[in-house]
């Protein structure tokens, strides 16, 4: 499974859940696969998607808040996992697309090939943390996680892209992204 297949699989089964997307390929793939007003595309501030999602989850008690994160982003802000574990937001679902690389800048390796990020989540107090490596497992886990209380983390192992990245950029302005997302929450 590559990032596109994984993002398409996950976004296809979303209903009204709020999604905060990490910067780079993850935002671009999500925008291309299924642009929705419930998506917040974080184009800068690397590392903070989980913190933004946590702020939304703590203030919006009804709907599930899903963070589409990457291994590079998670490693940049491991403290956020500890906060999620400590605060226990039931409506928080963390999906980490892990290609063991900084894909947007040319596939420089991260250290997630050696460090099991789902185990860090478990140790940090997430109620559930699991790794999936294929589409079948991803569909099964997602359908269960959308129905159960968290905080939960699903680590989705994906393959790296080879060569040029053929995916468009998010065409909404940052202000439009924010306004749409806020109108979806109201």
């Amino acid at each position: 499974m590559n990032c596109r297949e994984a993002v398409k699989t996950v976004t296809a089964i979303l209903q009204d859940q709020l999604v905060v997307c990490a910067n780079g390929i993850i935002s671009r793939e999500t925008f291309t696969a299924r642009d929705r007003v419930e998506n917040f595309y974080m184009i800068g501030s690397m590392g903070l998607a989980s913190s933004i999602g946590l702020g939304v989850a703590l203030s919006e008690n009804v709907r599930k808040v899903i963070v589409f994160d990457g291994d590079g982003n998670v490693l940049m802000n491991l403290g956020s996992l500890a906060m999620v574990g400590a605060l226990q937001p039931k409506n928080f679902l963390h999906i980490v697309f892990d290609n063991e690389a900084y894909a947007s800048t040319g596939n420089q390796p991260t250290c997630s090939n050696m460090i099991a990020l789902e185990n860090i989540a478990k140790s940090s107090g997430y109620l559930y943390a699991k790794r999936v490596t294929d589409k079948k497992g991803l569909i099964k886990e997602m359908s269960q996680l959308l129905e159960s209380d968290g905080p939960s983390l699903l680590l989705v192992k994906i393959s790296r892209y080879v060569g040029e990245i053929d995916i468009g950029r998010v065409t909404h302005t940052p202000n439009q992204i924010k306004e749409r997302f806020m109108s979806a929450i109201k």
Partner: protein
């Protein structure tokens, strides 16, 4: 000197209802006051840029947020402020303690103490400095700034202004 309880009351009665941050000794009592209140939330953050990220999420979900930090934290959250808050127009009130003011403090505070206000000027964040007699007025002004201009605003707090 302003009592921390009165300062917290003023923030809450002005409409701020979501608090997060990283401690500094100058605001130790203020953070205790906010933590103890049942009508608002104080979320202890692991880092200042994380506090700004959480505040931004809370704002989008309808809260009017405050992020509290020492001026050393400006260094940690410059990227969040420039590549999140300023470009998306995601506002929050930054209450920043001013360590190293006039070069009188421990060595680690001196450089940031001399430059923290200029740093905010450089990235275009409006800031004011709190004193014993302007707190009420500046808190109201900050709230109005957030509603009308939708960008972060900072209030610097030097040692000795709040108990």
């Amino acid at each position: 000197m302003i009592r921390s309880k009165d300062f917290a009351d003023e923030l809450v009665s002005s409409g701020f209802n979501f608090f997060t941050g990283v401690p500094c000794s100058i605001i130790g009592n203020l953070i205790s006051e906010l933590t103890d209140r049942s009508d608002v939330t104080y979320i202890p953050a692991v880092r200042e840029d994380v506090a700004v990220g959480i505040a931004s999420g809370a704002y989008m979900a309808g809260k009017i947020p405050v992020a509290l930090m020492q001026n050393s934290g400006i260094g940690q959250c410059l990227n969040a402020l420039t590549s999140l808050n300023l470009i998306y127009e995601l506002p929050c009130l930054l209450i920043i303690t001013w360590r190293g003011f006039n070069g009188k403090d421990a060595p680690e505070h001196i450089v940031m103490g001399e430059t923290c206000d200029t740093l905010l000027d450089t990235i275009g964040i409006v800031h004011h400095t709190l004193s014993g007699d302007n707190a009420k007025e500046l808190i109201t002004e900050s709230f109005n700034h957030i509603i009308e201009r939708k960008t972060p605003i900072a209030l610097f707090l030097k040692k000795g202004v709040i108990d």
